[in-house]
Symmetry: C2
Subunit: 181 residues, 2 copies
Amino acid sequence: MDTRSICLGVLSMGEATGYEIKKLFEEGPFSHFYDAGYGSIYPALGKLLEAEQVTCRVEAQAGRPAKKVYAITDAGHEVLAGALHEEPAIDHIRSEALVMMFFGHKLSADQRARVLDKYHGHYAKVLAGLHELDTSREGFGRQFVHGFGLAIYETAVRYLEEHGDEFLDGKTANDKIGAEQ
Amino acid sequence: MDTRSICLGVLSMGEATGYEIKKLFEEGPFSHFYDAGYGSIYPALGKLLEAEQVTCRVEAQAGRPAKKVYAITDAGHEVLAGALHEEPAIDHIRSEALVMMFFGHKLSADQRARVLDKYHGHYAKVLAGLHELDTSREGFGRQFVHGFGLAIYETAVRYLEEHGDEFLDGKTANDKIGAEQ
DNA sequence: ATAACCATGTAAATGGTTACATGATTAG
DNA sequence: CTAATCATGTAACCATTTACATGGTTAT
């Protein structure tokens, strides 16, 4: 399940260009559990084309760069089905922001604010994107994953909003209890 | 903020071996937001040693392989402080399981059950590990990040338990509403 | 018996990020 | 006028994963 397989998956929903696929990872229905840049999407599409798992049609556009519209082939559908029946790997999660927050006592107040703010901003933005998606007419898989994303990102944003001050002030839950007593 | 910096961070909390660092990522306080295997930890420690950001002491053990206990140096502390004041990158998240679930309609019932079960098992295991941690005497950063992890992983496990059947049965929320009417 | 744990490491292969390269159109 | 959007791609660099290599002890 590398970028190639995900691209096949996206193309199984309909034709798309590399640029459009990137947007799905940035703002669309994949934004909360997958990311890939142009530097990995374009080479992936190139390899899929070589392997004849996709076809490519060039569309000229007036006053715009030409598009390359990719479509999945029968061979591509087979490879995708195979990839979807492998053992899924454990989620890859790597959060630099959480590492920084973990070592919050080593951060300046400025940096604490910057890190928290950026983190909250990102989660809020992804959450807003999820809210804009309407999956009510989509299949059960998309609905399930969409609901999962909503649940998680809502929890994350709420936590950051409710507990952010403790982090910024450098207060622990203990400090708060002590102050109340 | 690559594996080298995180290793420095871990070592800023006390001496450790590569094996112990790995365990922190697997089961310990980093398990919910970072992972790295031996293949990236050992080389990272090697480079830190070369750069004199850590020292290394070999400890022989009876009936056990010898340990290499690493400790952070002053230079290491400086590099760590610098790394902690950079701009944090956006979280890297890549979930093969969610990709598979997204395409649930292309999965056999067997594979749906396998994927869901593995996913739930992993989240439940990390959550159990988080519950076992007592951060009440730790600094505000660790408490904040621990609380964040608990909130997120509890939400995830609950969602999978409450909505898993819909995914296994291939039913959408719409189908359910329809059945109730 | 068998699996899991302790404990290290390297080499090859894979894969991903970043920087470079181009350039017109449109919205603010 | 400035930034963002549309649209593609490559080359160099960097990081990570996987497979290989070793082997005694302890718990089930």
